[in-house]
C-alpha cells in the first residue's frame, strides 16, 4: 500500500491516530487552533493534543441560551459552533496597521512587524467554510485587497468536520451552506463511534497522514458517514426563506416591525461579534507624548455602535431601530447586491448569543407580512 492516500480518496483512521495528524501538522510548521472548552463554552484556541478537544461534550442552543453538557459519548466533535469563529484568526480583533516615526523632520510610515502564523484550523464546519469564502469576496476580490487578510488566508490548513447533529438555532440548509462539507478543505472528517472517515482534499492534506495507520474507507463506513450528515440535515428545524431577498427587505424599510424589534434590541453588538461574516472595522490612533511617533491599529467595529455612522453634526443612525435595520438589511439584502451572495451562512450564532433572543429568521418572516398600522 502506498504510504500516502490519494487526493479525493476517502480513508479511515482510528480516533487516537488523529494525534499523529496533529503531530505532522506541528512538524510542518503549522500552529494548530481548534475547539476547546473554556468558561463554559467551546472556544477556538491553540491546541496541541487531541485530549484538548471537547471530548464527551455537547451543547444546547436556543435563542439567547447556550449550555454545555456531558454527552456521555466518546465524541470529539459532538457539538455545534461556539461563540467564536475563524475570523478571530483571519481578521484579528486588533491588528497593527503601520507606525509613523518622525526622523529629521520627515514622517516615515512603516509597515507593522505582525507575524502571520501558518494556522491549521481544526474542526471547521461547512457553514464556517462558506463564511470564510464570503469574507474572501469582501477582502480579496475587489479593486483593493487586504494584504493582512491575504497573508493569513493563504497559509491556512483546513481540517474540516461534518456536523453530526444540528442545534435548534442552525439553519444552514436554508442558506445552502451545509451540513456536509463539499469543498475548500485539506481534510474533512466525519466522526463515527470508533473511527474517523477522512476525505482527502489536497496534496498537503494527504501529506499530513504520513506515518498514520490508515485504510481505504469501506462501502460500509462510507454509508455510515453519509448517514451522519443525513441525520444532521434532518435535525435542522429552523428555516429562512430566501427566494424573495433582497427585494422583500428593500420594499419594507418603513415596516412597523422595525419599531417592534427596536423595543427588544439592546444594540449590544453581540451578534456582529459572533457572526463569522461581519467584517466592519475601525482604526484607532495613538501617539507618544512628544508627537514623534504614532501608531494606527485596526480593531473590530460594529454597525450597532452609535458612532459608527458619525458625520459632521451628528449620527446618521441615532436610533436602535435604524441600526438594527441597517444590520439586518445589510446581512440579508444589500450584501447580495454587493458581493453576489447572502452575507448569512445560517450558523445561528446571532440567535444563540443575543441576550434577548432575537431571531433574524422570525424577524424576516414578520417583515414579509403585510403591514397593519
Amino acid at each position: 500500500m502506498p504510504s500516502l492516500p490519494r487526493v479525493a480518496g476517502t480513508v479511515v483512521i482510528s480516533k487516537l491516530a488523529l494525534q499523529r495528524v496533529f503531530h505532522n501538522l506541528r512538524d510542518a510548521g503549522f500552529s494548530l487552533v481548534g475547539p476547546t472548552v473554556q468558561d463554559g463554552a467551546v472556544v477556538l484556541e491553540e491546541i496541541a493534543r487531541i485530549e484538548e478537544l471537547p471530548l464527551g461534550w455537547t451543547d444546547e442552543q436556543e435563542p439567547g441560551r447556550y449550555r454545555l453538557k456531558s454527552s456521555g459519548e466518546p465524541e470529539y466533535f459532538g457539538y455545534g459552533v461556539g461563540p467564536q469563529s475563524w475570523k478571530k484568526f483571519l481578521l484579528p480583533p486588533r491588528l497593527g496597521l503601520y507606525s509613523a516615526v518622525k526622523e529629521n523632520g520627515n514622517w516615515l510610515f512603516q509597515p507593522p512587524q505582525n507575524s502571520a502564523p501558518h494556522y491549521a484550523f481544526i474542526g471547521v464546519r461547512s457553514c464556517e467554510l462558506h463564511a470564510i469564502s464570503i469574507q474572501d469576496r469582501v477582502l480579496l476580490s475587489g479593486e483593493f485587497r487586504d494584504p493582512h487578510y491575504a497573508r493569513r488566508r493563504e497559509r491556512i490548513f483546513v481540517l474540516a468536520v461534518n456536523c453530526g447533529k444540528a442545534n435548534s438555532t442552525c439553519f444552514c440548509t436554508s442558506m445552502k451552506t451545509g451540513p456536509r462539507v463539499t469543498g475548500g478543505f485539506d481534510l474533512a472528517l466525519t466522526e463515527l463511534p470508533q473511527v474517523f472517515v477522512i476525505e482527502i482534499g489536497s496534496e498537503v492534506g494527504s501529506e499530513m497522514l504520513r506515518d498514520t495507520p490508515w485504510e481505504p474507507a469501506s462501502a460500509f463506513n462510507l454509508s455510515r458517514a453519509a448517514q451522519v450528515s443525513e441525520r444532521a440535515e434532518r435535525e435542522v428545524e429552523r428555516r429562512l426563506r430566501t427566494d424573495d431577498l433582497p427585494k422583500s427587505l428593500y420594499d419594507n424599510l418603513e415596516h412597523p416591525r422595525w419599531d417592534e424589534v427596536a423595543t427588544r434590541c439592546l444594540s449590544c453588538a453581540n451578534c456582529t461579534q459572533v457572526c463569522p461574516t461581519c467584517f466592519c472595522v475601525t482604526v484607532e490612533d495613538t501617539c507618544n507624548l512628544k508627537a514623534t511617533a504614532a501608531e494606527r491599529t485596526r480593531v473590530w467595529d460594529s454597525c450597532f455602535v452609535l458612532d459608527f455612522s458619525h458625520v459632521f453634526g451628528g449620527n446618521i443612525r441615532p436610533s436602535i431601530r435604524s441600526r438594527y435595520r441597517q444590520w439586518l438589511t445589510h446581512k440579508l439584502a444589500s450584501w447580495i447586491d454587493q458581493f453576489g451572495t447572502s452575507g448569512c451562512v445560517g450558523c445561528g450564532r446571532c440567535i444563540t448569543w443575543c441576550p434577548v433572543g432575537i431571531d433574524l429568521t422570525e424577524e424576516v418572516n414578520a417583515l414579509r407580512e403585510k403591514a397593519v398600522r
Binding site: D136, R153, E154, Y250, V281, F312, I316
Partner: protein, 288 residues
C-alpha cells in the same frame, strides 16, 4: 483553498492603507474657518505620477490624530500640487487647520467615483453647490475652463449661509469671463451684502433649462440636495441626469471597514459621486 492567491501574489500585495508623506506648499484662507491646503508628495516620482478626476478624494493622515477623507478642490490639469479645502469639523480637521507651510501629512488616493463630464459635452450643465459643497465641484469648473470649447452652456448656482461662508469668491469674475454663468445667494445677508438672499434651490428660478438636454451636478448638505433634486424633477429633468456627491463616515476608503455604506452602495467605491437614478429607492429614507 476556495480563493486562488499564490504566495507570490501575497508578497506583491501593497497595503492600500499605507500613506505617503506629502509636504504643505501653500495655505489659502477661503471663508470663515475654511482654508485650502495645497500639498505635494515628498517623493518626486509619486508627485509626478499623481492624477485624479473631478469629484475624487484623498485620505489625509495626521499622525496621532487620524485620517479624514477630503475632496480634491484643485485642477485635475495640474495634479502635482493637490488642493484640499478643509472645514474644521472634528479632531483631525482641527489638527489640519493648525498646519504650517512645510509641515508633513500622510496622503493616499485618489479614491471614489468622479463627475461624469463626458456626459456634459452635448448638454447644458447646471452646477448647484451649497457651502463647502463647491469644493469637490471646483475641479469641474477648472476642467471646463481649460477646455471651454468642448462644453456648451455652463451655469453655476451657488449659495452659503452667510456672505462670510462663500468660497472662492475671488475667482467668480474669472469664471464669468470664461463664459460660466454664476448666480450666488446667501440664506442670511449682512449690512454689506447686495446680492441675492434666498436658499440655493431657489436659484433655479433665475434660469431656464431645456429638460431634454440638461445635466445637473450638485453637492452640499443632504437636505439642500433633496430640494435641488425636487426642483430639477419639477423641471422634468430625467433622474439619470441628476448627479450628486454623498458623504458618509469613512475609515478606510477602500471598501473594507463597512462604515460608508448607504444601502448596497459603498460611498468610497461606487460613490461619492452617484446618479440620483441609481440611489433613488434609498435617498431621503430617514436614518438610513
Amino acid at each position: 483553498m476556495s480563493v486562488a492567491i499564490s504566495p507570490a501574489d501575497v508578497r506583491m500585495m501593497r497595503d492600500p492603507m499605507l500613506p505617503n508623506p506629502a509636504v504643505i506648499r501653500a495655505i489659502k484662507p477661503e471663508a470663515n474657518g475654511i482654508s485650502t491646503f495645497s500639498m505635494e508628495f515628498v517623493d518626486a516620482d509619486e508627485a509626478a505620477a499623481y492624477r485624479f478626476q473631478p469629484g475624487q478624494f484623498n485620505m489625509l493622515y495626521l499622525p496621532g490624530f487620524g485620517e479624514v477623507a477630503i475632496s480634491l478642490s484643485s485642477s485635475p490639469v495640474e495634479p502635482r500640487v493637490m488642493g484640499h479645502t478643509v472645514r474644521v469639523a472634528g479632531s483631525v480637521t482641527r489638527a489640519i487647520s493648525r498646519l504650517k507651510v512645510g509641515d508633513l501629512v500622510g496622503v493616499r488616493g485618489p479614491y471614489g467615483s468622479s463627475w461624469p463630464l463626458e456626459k456634459a459635452t452635448d448638454k447644458s450643465l447646471v452646477i448647484v453647490a451649497g457651502g463647502i459643497g463647491l469644493a469637490p465641484l471646483r475641479p469641474v469648473v477648472l476642467s471646463i475652463l481649460h477646455q471651454r470649447d468642448a462644453f456648451g452652456r455652463v451655469v453655476l448656482l451657488y449659495g452659503a449661509r452667510t456672505p462670510g461662508d462663500l468660497l472662492y469668491t475671488g475667482e467668480f469674475d474669472q469664471w464669468q469671463k470664461g463664459e460660466i454663468e454664476v448666480h450666488v445667494t446667501v440664506d442670511l445677508g449682512d449690512e454689506h451684502w447686495r446680492g441675492d438672499v434666498g436658499v440655493v434651490p431657489q436659484l433655479f428660478y433665475r434660469i431656464r433649462v431645456d429638460h431634454r438636454q440638461t445635466l445637473v451636478l450638485t453637492c452640499g448638505p443632504e437636505i439642500m440636495m433633496r430640494f435641488v433634486i425636487y426642483e430639477a424633477l419639477a423641471r422634468r429633468i430625467p433622474k439619470d441626469a441628476i448627479v450628486l456627491s454623498m458623504e458618509r463616515n469613512m475609515k478606510c476608503a477602500v471598501g473594507f471597514c463597512g462604515h460608508c455604506q448607504f444601502g448596497p452602495t459603498f460611498i468610497c467605491k461606487q460613490g461619492p459621486v452617484l446618479s440620483f437614478a441609481a440611489i433613488e429607492p434609498f435617498f431621503g429614507k430617514e436614518d438610513f
